[in-house]
């Protein structure tokens, strides 16, 4: 394997991805990601200099419309699936300590 994924890298990716891995999952993830990157590195064979990155296949740009409200108050629907709610809002753990 050419791409060796360190403990620090997996730790960092875990922070970015907001995932907490068990020891076993962590070792598996290191191996999987290393193998995947080895495979993906195949793209380095291609000369892509001067090629613009294509995020969308069609030449579409931003789609604008007038900001006219078309919905009624949807707050109860928005909250309908909340794991916890209070006073018409989502309830989350204390964020400012």
């Amino acid at each position: 394997m050419e791409n060796i994924i360190s403990d620090e890298t997996i730790e960092y990716v875990g922070i970015l991805a907001k995932l907490e891995l068990s020891e076993e999952e962590r070792e598996r993830a290191k191996k999987d990601m290393g193998e995947m990157l080895d495979y993906i590195d195949k793209l380095n064979e291609l000369d892509v200099s001067g090629v613009a990155p294509m995020s969308h296949v069609f030449p579409v740009s931003n789609v604008f419309r007038e900001d006219v409200p078309s919905d009624e108050d949807g707050s109860s629907m928005t909250l309908a699936n909340a794991p916890l709610q209070r006073n018409g809002g989502f309830e989350v753990p204390k964020t400012i300590i």
């Binding site: 991805a17 891995l21 993830a29 296949v57 931003n62 699936n81 909340a82 753990p93």
Partner: protein, 486 residues
């Protein structure tokens, strides 16, 4: 008469002619589900009550002339990543085990407005990430042709349900082959439309720049009719494309004289099963005998599509799946200390292994220091792949090849080696990168009796070329019912 052995169009005609009531059609589907679910497990949720209620409403609208479409009254299934108001939508994930949408996806809404009755939500790989429907949190779906084999994925439930004749047709979604590959494995017909043709509003996103909803059915006629029903410009989807025409059924013509078909040599090399190869080339021969002009060509860059796809799809997935945080909907962990711990624990307990693997890879390729080397390079590769297809479509109307390199593998053989599993998507993935339409339809079975799929790829907005070629080829065959449906 077994109503479920009919095609959707045939059943629709009988309903229209009042030979069959909508309730009878829906009841037939529900009875088939009761009988066959134990063998295939195509569904996460069966909405018996809702379907029977909807059947009465649809019947009333047919009787008073409000509903006149060819598919009115036909029982349909919907992949469980499309939101259905008041009907559980899980994406086959634990993290959405209790998610009850408060609105309906545009494609499903269109399907209902055409008079089809939603009988349930079909099983899939968790968040559409997988090629076997084995990563579902709600158990594996089995292939109706041989229940020891996978149905393919990620729309394995939709394809198995159609093949097992538990519904007349179904909606699937395709990000890297997720309609075409399971259609191939299950001996049914599935079409991935040009990107932007069917609204993604209400489709739970995986790789937004690649995802498209499309039809799964027994034959090309049903596929074209279902696509015609669900495709629409939608201002709720900013990537929706307004098209001049949505008349896909007008391409159902048994005439391919002069149609130029290109066969990429690169699709017939190493890794392709001999029986698949022979069946696909025999299909090309059949089209040639009907007057199509068939020749081989070099497509180029084929081996770069999979690595580019996994970078782009995982990058988009890592961003799209950030919304599952235990705050707004879905699963929240029981015990936690503070906000970040709650996020991490809810996500870690809620997502399965394959989803975590892709979110992590996506987070990595988007992270500072790697973004240019991986993500931007993949987007540049995508541009080159699109150019290769542009060159091909300057010469050909249709590109013909296999949908998958093999027939359906056995259950339990794929997940251990992810890269090997990803390689199985080699013929389907580039179609998503280039935004093209593609259809998979049966072209035979292997010695083990498992179906083989023929893939036809068209240029952007040229669904009608592939529908016409598929229809003409289909006329040379008869539909084979899966053993489970017999």
């Amino acid at each position: 008469m077994d109503l479920m052995s009919l095609t959707a169009a045939e059943l629709g005609r009988k309903i229209k002619a009042k030979e069959v009531s909508v309730t009878e059609a829906v009841t037939a589907a529900l009875e088939a589900i009761e009988k066959r679910e134990g063998m295939v497990h195509s569904f996460v949720t069966v909405d018996k009550e809702g379907a029977l209620l909807a059947a009465k409403e649809v019947q009333r609208k047919i009787d008073d002339g409000t509903l006149r479409g060819p598919l009115a009254g036909v029982p349909a299934a919907v992949k469980d990543n499309m939101c259905t108001e008041g009907l559980l939508t899980t994406c086959s994930s634990k993290i959405l085990s209790n998610f009850m949408p408060t609105y309906t996806a545009t494609a499903v809404q269109n399907l209902k407005e055409a008079g089809m009755v939603v009988i349930g939500k079909t099983n899939m790989d968790e968040f559409a990430m997988g090629s076997t429907t084995e990563t579902s949190a709600y158990g594996v779906t089995r292939n109706p042709w041989n229940t020891e084999h996978v149905p393919g994925g990620s729309s394995g439930g939709s394809c198995a349900a159609v093949a097992a004749e538990e519904c007349s047709l179904a909606l699937g979604s395709d990000t890297g082959g997720s309609i075409r590959q399971p259609s191939s494995f299950c001996g049914v017909t599935g079409l991935k439309p040009t990107y932007g043709t069917v609204s993604r509003y209400g489709l739970i996103a995986y790789g937004s720049s690649l995802d498209q909803i499309g039809p799964v059915a027994k034959d090309v006629t049903d596929c074209a009719a279902l696509l015609e029903a669900v495709a629409s410009y939608d201002n709720k989807d900013s990537t929706s494309i307004w098209r001049e025409s949505y008349q896909f059924t007008e391409a159902l013509v048994d005439d391919v004289k002069g149609l130029k078909i290109g066969i990429p040599r690169d699709y017939f090399g190493e890794g392709l099963d001999t029986e698949v190869k022979e069946a696909v080339l025999a299909a090309a021969k059949a089209l040639e005998e009907k007057g199509a002009i068939v020749e081989e060509f070099d497509l180029g860059l084929v081996e770069y599509a999979i690595p580019a796809y996994y970078i782009i799809a995982c990058a988009e997935a890592s961003s799209n799946l950030a919304r599952f945080d235990g705050v707004k909907y879905g699963y929240r962990t029981k015990d936690y200390e503070g906000l970040h711990n709650m996020y991490k624990k809810s996500r870690s307990e809620g997502f399965g292994a394959e989803v975590k693997r892709r979110i992590m890879l996506g987070s990595f390729v988007l992270s500072s220091g790697y973004y240019d080397a991986y993500y931007l390079r993949a987007l540049r590769t995508k541009a080159l792949i699109k150019q290769e297809f542009d060159k091909a479509f300057a010469k050909y109307d249709v590109i013909l090849g296999p949908a998958a390199p093999t027939t359906a593998p056995k259950i339990g053989q794929s997940l251990g080696d992810p890269i090997k599993m990803y390689l199985g998507d080699i013929y389907t993935i580039s179609v998503n990168l280039a935004g093209l339409p593609g259809i998979s339809l049966p072209c035979g079975t292997d010695r083990a009796g498992l179906p083989i799929g023929l893939q036809l790829i068209g240029d952007c907005f040229k669904e009608n070329n592939i529908i016409r070629a598929a229809y003409a080829y289909e006329r040379t065959r008869t539909y084979e019912h899966s053993p489970v449906a017999m």
